[in-house]
Symmetry: C2
Subunit: 334 residues, 2 copies
């Protein structure tokens, strides 16, 4: 009888299990606030993006995976801005007190994610309320002053790139919900597991930072679907763009599914949770951008280009160059 499966009693017991995650400015979670001394010549880059059970993760996801995702989805935004992660704050909300076992594993997942992304926990809060378990992370990163890569600065003529591959997480989520679907799709068990991992453990593309800062005129991370997020970049930049659907990079597993069900391609281009990076790069810098991305271990693929302001900001074309009409506009909570 270890008590590991009993609910923790008191906020102090919860805080104690998270204390090993504290960075120097966290003051051991023994103060009202955290403190951070910014480095000379840097800007702070900030983001807050909570995740909730049943909305952003599934009830049977492991505590380690939930912790990883809570931090990763925020760090992904920093990656898209060319920023380096520094620290984060976290508010935890539980409908009932977590067990020692759950929270220990959750802290373990955070420790892994912190180490992978290079940041520490500054402070936070915990409370009990009805509704799903919620983890609200606010992350802080740094870039040299003025060097943050913006979203609203894409220019006509820029080439559009995405990192990695699109649609893995969306199919991974479907596999979580409908076990056995891998047999319908005709993909191997390892491929199915890899797709699910892409849903549960997104990998922020931090390695792409130097290439983005050096060459991208604009960039953003993809969380609500390529089509919707690209539309946002184009509208914010007051330009138009062409997305060439057949150029969208797919993993081997997703390629198998799309060959079997060709209609999936446009659905996956509108699906969320990719956490890849969309970048607009001037043609003159394209070769250097591709070279530096490759050297950093991140594949990038040109998927279209930016045009002048137009009535319809986004055009999507198929293999024959014909316009594609999208049925779904991407993820929207409301």
């Amino acid at each position: 009888m270890t008590g590991d499966d009993e609910a923790l009693v008191g906020e102090d017991a919860i805080i104690a299990l998270l204390r090993p995650l504290a960075g120097p400015g966290g003051l051991g979670f023994r103060d009202d606030c955290a403190v951070l001394t910014p480095r000379l010549g840097t800007d702070l880059v900030l983001k807050t993006d909570p995740i909730a059970e049943g909305v952003h993760f599934l009830p049977d996801d492991t505590p380690e995976d939930i912790a990883w995702k809570a931090l990763a989805v925020n760090v992904s935004d920093l990656a898209a801005k060319g920023a380096r992660p520094l620290a984060y704050l976290m508010a935890l909300s539980f409908p009932s007190a977590p067990t020692r076992s759950w929270l220990t594993r959750f802290a373990g997942g955070l420790a892994q994610a912190q180490a992978a992304f290079g940041c520490t926990l500054l402070g936070g809060d915990t409370d009990r309320r009805q509704g799903p378990i919620t983890i609200s992370v606010t992350v802080l990163g740094e870039v040299e002053t003025g060097a943050m890569v913006r979203r609203a600065t894409a220019r006509p003529g820029d080439l559009l790139y995405v990192s990695g591959s699109i649609g893995d997480a969306a199919l991974g989520l479907r596999l979580c919900r409908e076990p056995g679907l891998e047999q319908v799709w005709g993909i191997a068990a390892e491929q199915a597991a890899a797709l699910i991992a892409r849903y549960r453990r997104p990998l922020p593309r931090l390695a792409l930072g130097p290439a983005l800062r050096a060459h991208a005129s604009a960039s953003m991370d993809l969380s609500d679907g390529l089509v919707k997020d690209l539309g946002r970049m184009l509208r914010a930049s007051e330009v138009s763009g062409l997305l060439q659907l057949p150029r969208v990079p797919l993993s081997e597993a997703v390629s198998v599914v799309v060959r079997k069900e060709p209609a999936q391609l446009s659905q996956l281009a509108a699906a969320g949770d990719d956490y890849e990076i969309l970048a607009a790069v001037p043609p003159v810098s394209a070769a250097a951008f591709e070279r530096e991305a490759r050297a950093a271990g991140v594949s990038v693929t040109q998927i279209g280009h930016v045009g002048p302001a137009a009535k319809a900001p986004l055009t999507i074309s198929d293999a024959d160059g014909n316009d594609v009409q999208m049925q779904s506009g991407g993820w929207d909570h409301f």
Copy 2:
């Protein structure tokens, strides 16, 4: 038919109503992240403290009051650290889409609070999930490098002070829940309204910042009750302390109630939501601290003093100097 009472459709509609709150680093909420250029020679002071319906505010509180409280409880921590508010991020979670009317009033309350506290909205997130409406604010303040007033640095011999008066918000909350109680207590309708206002619209003691930075060896804000929070300061500082209950400052309305029901005094000393400041001040600085607080328009009252480390960190004494045993240890979510 204005549509003001219809639910908003789409995240963009929600963001549009909040856009007037954006500060310069918020980039009009049209980017993945916000950016902040810290001032040379300053530290950033950070805090995150969400509030949820039914836990931190009541379902029939007005949207303006909810917005005010969401920001005020976070700014109160900055005030206790001697920091000046700069900016905040906010994640909003709704079980169903808010109406235009509700969100417009909520944004109005935030605009008021921002103006009062001197900060702007940097960015945030909104999503829909089951459970209570939740507002998760992360606030950033600044102090001169190294000047943040800590919690864990109270020293034996320091005098203990609190700002304002204690217990108003706790009685205000009881009045919200039990209308008519003011007649039982024998307080005027205006006094009852003032107590309720103290619950709904806490006023961070930002004006006390210079006096705290100049004279306090330690300070913190009171959110979970004077007794519990004082215990935290003493334990963090590895000292002991004496709280003289009859010295605890009470508003006129609370004094009336305590005269009628003397047992209330120790209950109010353990009740939460005061958002006053607890400070430890060396005797040599006490006169200057009191003078500067008064000049800043904030009353401060000596309620006890700090002693050397002891087995029981906190002793509470009554009017006759006898020890008081507390029945409640203050607010704990778990």
